[in-house]
Every structure is written in C-alpha cells, then in structure tokens.
C-alpha cells in the first residue's frame, strides 16, 4: 500500500511537472467543450434558392415571395436563365433552382394544370431531400390559395385536410447544446484518458525507465495501478468540471436524472477505458505506435458512437461495430440520465455491458502485459 502511495505521488508529480501537457489535459478539453456544441447543428435551414422566371407574371412573383417568406429559403437570384442559375449551384452559392416556364399563369388557368421545374443540388442528400419536401409543401399551399381565389365551389377545393400537431419532449426548444454537450464531454474524457494512459506507459518503455522499475521490488500490479489511478482521477475531475461548471453555467444544462448513477457509470467506464490504454501500451513499442492505434480507435469511437450520426441509420455491420465501443454506451447513458431522467431499470443493460468491457479489457491487458515483460 505504501509503495503504491509513493508511486502515485511520483506519477502525479510527473504529470503536474510537465508544463506542456497540463494545458492540454485540463484547458484544451474545456475550450473544446465551449466551442464545439455551437458548431454541431445540422438542422436544414437557409437553403439558397435561385429563381428563374421566364413568365414574369403576377403569379410567378407571388410564388417567389411565398417561398422567400417561408423562413427556410434565402433568395440568391431572380434571373432569366437556367444556365446562370446552374453556375450558382456549381459555385455553391445556390442549393436549389426553381424554373417557371413561359406561359405559367396562362396555361394554369387554361389547361387546368401546369408544371414547374425544381432542380436541387443533391450532393448533400439530406439537405436536398428536406429542401425538396419544403418546396413541395409551399407549392401545395400556394396552389391551394390559387384555387380559393379562382374557384367558387369549396367542395372541389378541399378534399379533406389532415392537420399535424407536433410536440417535442425533453427539449421543447430543440436546443442542440442540450444534446451535444453531454456527449462531447464523454468524448473529451475518453480522448484524454485513452491517449494519456496509452502514451504514459509506452513512454517508460521507449525511454528505458521501465527496466529500472522492473529491477526494483515494486510489484507489477502496483506499477500498473500507479499508472492507472492518476488518470482515473483526472477523468473524474474533467468530467465534473465539464458537467458542473461549463454545462451548467454556460449552457444551463442541469441533469434531471440521478447523479449517483451517472458517476457510478463514469467510474466503471473509466476503468474500462484505462484497461484499453493499458492494452495498447503493452502491445506497442514506441509512442508513435501507441498513438496511431489510440488515434485509430478514438476516431472510430467518435464517428461511430452515435455522437454525430444516428446509429439506427447505419448498416447492420456498422451497428455491430458501434455496439462494440464502450463510448456508445456511455454517450447513451449520459444523454438518458441528463436529459430524460431515465432510471436504473432503463439503463441496466448498459451497466452490464460496461462492466463486461471493464473486465475483459483489463484482463486482456494484464495477460498481455505478463507475457511481454
């Protein structure tokens, strides 16, 4: 026990002595937590629309105004040639072209039906899909208005309308920060602990000091615990500062679920994560190798854990990978506890899985560690 305490003292000293690392451990994540949530918003708004009007009729102008005043669209051109509008799309200045053919108003009244042309830059499929459906809705509304104006029989006009009422639970203002902040906090803690832990041990290997330690009466488990415990505390510390200072005072997020459950999960999660760092360390010979591997996994964790893109939308094999990442579970738990106030019963399987992660990763690392040294 005393040996372990001495080791811990030494590790903490080493960490705090390294003036280049300190800001990276403590300040960088908090700055990221301040900035990132502001950037992470993919709601489709501000669709740039270029309007090509060959008709120049009252009706075509009314349609233009209706579209612009809907709030989704921003007019970036009211021209007379499709070619020019296409150039705007090529230059990313426009996302959507509406082309009104000659005789639009006249034909509509005479022939009772008239086409108009919508071309959408679909490189971003989601934006294109939603942009198309917004435009469709606006045109339908517009059409309805015209019928009211031109026709007398109401029977013809309204075949039955479905009204849609929407309510948004848990986050009625659709505040993106509520969703992103807890998850980004998870990622930051993960990055710090996984990187630092995997680099720390391999560094001793690379510099050669690990041999000196092996030559002392320090037991291996003491050495490993001495390495892991400081990062476990650092992880807890960063998470707490993020949650109680930044999330609360900057973003106004107060967890509505049980803090005890959250911290219990965090504690186990950190053990799993540190086990992974240890595993990487035992397999790598140089810091560069350790870092490449850690980077590889962190990137997969980050992109596939449901942080940014929903897991449900992924192909099945990718879902499998997502569910093999501890980060997925922690992000889910954090969101459930912080935003929805879910209880132990709702997250019991998350607990079971993270405990399995902790046991498997640490056991694997220990077996590897004994074999290599």
């Amino acid at each position: 026990m005393r040996t372990l305490l001495f080791l811990l003292k030494k590790e903490f000293k080493q960490i705090f002595r390294n003036k280049a690392l300190l800001p990276l451990i403590f300040i960088a994540p908090l700055i990221q937590l301040l900035i990132l949530p502001l950037a992470a918003d993919y709601e489709v708004k501000n669709i740039n629309i270029s309007f090509v009007d060959h008709d120049h009729s009252t009706m075509s102008q009314q349609l233009y105004h209706k579209i612009i005043s809907s709030g989704y669209f921003r007019g970036v051109g009211y021209g007379s040639s499709y070619k020019d509008a296409l150039k705007q799309i090529e230059a990313d200045q426009a996302d959507l072209i509406i082309e009104i053919p000659i005789g639009f108003e006249r034909n509509l009244i005479r022939e009772n039906r008239q086409d108009l042309f919508v071309a959408i830059n679909a490189i971003n499929g989601v934006k294109a899909g939603l942009g198309g459906s917004y435009i469709g809705q606006i045109i339908t509304d517009f059409n309805q208005e015209i019928r009211f104006k031109w026709l007398t029989s109401v029977e013809q006009i309204t075949p039955g309308q479905i009204e849609i009422g929407s309510s948004f639970w848990y986050n009625p203002n659709l505040n993106y920060n509520m969703f992103m902040v807890p998850a980004i906090l998870v990622i930051l803690v993960t990055m710090i602990c996984a990187y630092m832990c995997s680099l720390n041990i391999v560094k001793e290997k690379e510099v050669g000091t690990i041999e000196q330690i092996n030559a002392t009466p320090i037991k291996k488990y003491q050495f490993i615990l001495g390495k892991l415990i400081p990062f476990w505390f650092i992880g807890l510390f960063i998470f707490s500062v993020g949650l109680f200072v930044i999330a609360r005072f900057v973003y106004g997020i107060v967890p509505i679920g049980s803090l005890l459950l959250l911290y219990l999960f965090l504690a186990i999660y950190l053990i799993a994560l540190l086990g992974m760092g240890l595993l990487i360390s035992t397999m790598a010979n140089t810091q560069q190798q350790a870092m490449s591997v850690a980077f590889f996994f962190i990137m997969i964790f980050m992109l596939m854990s449901g942080l940014f893109t929903p897991i449900d939308s992924m192909p099945d094999w990718a879902k499998l990978i997502a569910y093999c990442s501890p980060v997925t579970y922690f992000i889910d738990v954090t969101r459930m506890l912080v935003l929805k106030g879910s209880g132990m019963m709702d997250i019991r399987w998350h607990f079971v899985i993270i405990i399995i992660f902790a046991i498997v990763l640490n056991a694997w690392a220990l077996i590897k560690y004994k074999k290599t040294s």
Partner: protein
C-alpha cells in the same frame, strides 16, 4: 545536393524499418475510409417509431402503412394506452410516437379536417426536426394522393430533379469529407513527431553539427511522408471509386495535384507542431486533441458551416481540409476544372507556405 539525397535516404530507412508503424500508416486510412464511407451519413434511416392508433380504421391503417413502407421509419411496438407513452420514451426505444385519434376517418370525411399528433423525442433535436420533416412529407403526400383521386382543377405540379446525386445517397457528401479528414490527420500526425523525436532522443545535436543546411534537413524529414501519403492517396481514391461508388467526373490529374497540395499543407503543419514542442507526448497530443475535433467539425461534411455562429465560420476558414473538401466535391462530383476552384487552391497554397515558413523560423531559433 548529394548530402540532401543521403539525408532523404536515411529518413526513408527510418520510416521503413519500423514495420509496425508503417503497417498502421497504411492500414488505418484504408480501414477508416471504408468504414466511414459506408457507415456515416446524416440521413436518418429506420428511426424507431411507435403508434398509438385509437382509430383502427382503413384510413389510419393506410397512413401507418405509408410509414412502414418508408425507409426513414421502422415501426416498433404499438401502444394501447396513454399511460405507456412516458415509459417508451424513457427506455430510449423510440424516437417518435404517432397518435391517431379515434374519430380520424370520420373527421376527415365529414368535417373535412382531421388531426394527427406527433410526439418527438427531442433530446436529440437534430433527429427530431429531421424526422418531423419526413413525417410531415409522408402525411402531405398521402393527402395529395387523396386530392389526386378527386380530380382537382388548377394543379401546379413540381417536376423535381436531383442534380449530381439523384438517389440522395450519403456517399457524395461523406466520402470527400472522410478523404479530407483522413488525409489531413494522418499527414499531420506522421510529421508532428518527426523532429521532436530527434530532439527528445538527443540525436538532433548530431544532425545540427552536420554540414547540411537546416532548411534541407526539415525538407528531408517530410519527403518520405510525402511519398507515403501519395501512396495512401492512390489507395483512398481507388477505394472511393471502386467500393464506395464515387465518380471522378473532373480531371484525375487535377484531383491528384490538389490532393498533393493538401498533403504538403498538412505535412508542413505537422512540422510546425514538431518544431514548436518539447517532447513527443506534447506533439502528439496537440496533433490529436488539437486537430481531430476541429478538423472533423470544420471540414463541413458533418455540420453545415453556414449554420454556425460567425466567429466559428471565421475559424473554419483556417482549417485546410475545409478548402480541400470544396475542391474534391467540385472535381469529383461536379466535374469542374481549375477555373472554378482557383480561389480555394490559392488559399491552400498560401497556408502551406505560411506553415513551412513558420516551421523554419521556429527551427532556427532552436539552433541558437
């Protein structure tokens, strides 16, 4: 010149001797491109929804069938009482609950107005608002079909054409983004420790007393990584085209030239980090912590930059991969030439020169 070549050769030996690292430098980008190219998309598919159908009539069934047929939704459990609503959301099993009132069909036929209620799990607001768009569109199209059946006069019919990506696939947005992300990060990562490693191990002094110009010394460090990155680029492009169905509509030569420019920019940035830090650990953490997240966010393939607050939009201008992403989309998908992207090219070139200049400057101060 001879010395320079000898130095480059030495650096190549260094890189190639460490086979484990080499394997990673080649393996990781390949795995990541394939993984993310297939798995990532902002599109929401199979969002789990529950239905509380109080009407259980023909109309409500028709609407439910439309939701079931949509690739955006996947029907889960039906619920049968109001008291279950809260529970299904808290378990986190569903994103949307659709409530159809009992008098739905009757209202629609007789009073010509019926209502449907949606409850979204807005703890994920992005998904909630996207799903709202999809759900509304389904109801709208159902309604339109009712209209079409009743032969309404004065119809304006939009003919919609999806340019560049008619099937609305995720790949055209995400593959160029992942290309930019992976190339950028791998390159920065590789060079970020190249010089600091020598500093840390003490071999730097030996290099400095050699008669080689420090300028060439830095360049020599980057050359093997440039070669490696070009090979990586070839692999990444091949995978994108063959496996991920990305077109190359523009000039392949131009694409390679622009990619080389990005690689050089990233390598120069890595050198700058390497020259400015004192040990490998710090260099790596800066390269990782400092680069990963901003690059991911500000490249523009995940979150539209035009949605961000102005200060962040300004920050995004300083991220090289953002400009590269625009370039790749223009060349590969839109098939445009240099005339359309000269501005972005100049910006990248400027960045490369600034990074190189700064890293030489940093390096020289170390000499004294």
């Amino acid at each position: 010149m001879n010395q320079f070549i000898t130095f480059i050769r030495k650096e190549f030996y260094h890189v190639f001797r460490d086979s484990k690292t080499l394997l990673m430098l080649f393996g990781l980008p390949i795995v990541q491109i394939v993984l993310f190219g297939f798995a990532l998309s902002n599109e929401i598919r199979n969002a789990k929804i529950a239905i509380f159908d109080q009407a259980k009539d023909q109309t409500s069934q028709q609407i439910i069938n439309r939701f079931a047929a949509s690739r955006y939704f996947s029907l889960q459990n039906n619920i049968s009482s109001e008291s279950q609503i809260e529970a299904v959301f808290q378990e986190g099993k569903i994103k949307l609950l659709m409530i159809i009132p009992s008098s739905f069909e009757e209202d629609l036929m007789h009073s010509r107005k019926a209502s449907i209620q949606f409850i979204f799990d807005a703890s994920d607001p992005n998904t909630a608002s996207t799903l709202q768009g999809y759900a509304n569109a389904i109801i709208m199209s159902y309604q339109q079909d009712l209209v079409a059946g009743s032969n309404i006069p004065l119809q304006i019919i939009p003919q919609t054409r999806m340019l560049y990506n008619p099937e609305l696939k995720g790949a055209p947005t995400f593959v160029p983004g992942v290309m930019a992300l992976v190339l950028m990060l791998i390159c920065v990562l590789m060079t970020s420790i190249s010089i600091v490693k020598e500093k840390e191990q003490g071999t730097m002094e030996i290099l400095l007393v050699s008669p080689v110009n420090p300028f060439l010394l830095i360049i020599a460090k980057a050359v093997p990584y440039l070669a490696l990155s070009l090979v990586n680029l070839a692999v990444i492009l091949t995978l994108s085209v063959t496996l991920l169905d990305m077109p190359i509509n523009g000039s392949l030569f131009l694409l390679i030239a622009e990619s080389t420019l990005l690689i050089i920019t990233a390598l120069a940035l890595g050198l700058l980090i390497s020259n400015s830090t004192a040990n490998q650990q710090a260099a790596m953490l800066i390269a990782m912590m400092g680069m990963l997240v901003p690059t991911m966010l500000f490249t523009g393939f995940m979150f539209p930059i035009e949605n961000m607050p102005i200060p962040l939009q300004i920050i995004s201008h300083f991220i090289p991969s953002k400009w590269y992403y625009i370039i790749v989309k223009s060349i590969m998908i839109k098939g445009l030439g240099i005339a359309a992207i000269w501005k972005e090219t100049l910006i990248l070139l400027g960045m490369a020169l600034i990074f190189l200049f700064l890293s030489f400057k940093k390096f020289k101060t170390r000499l004294q």
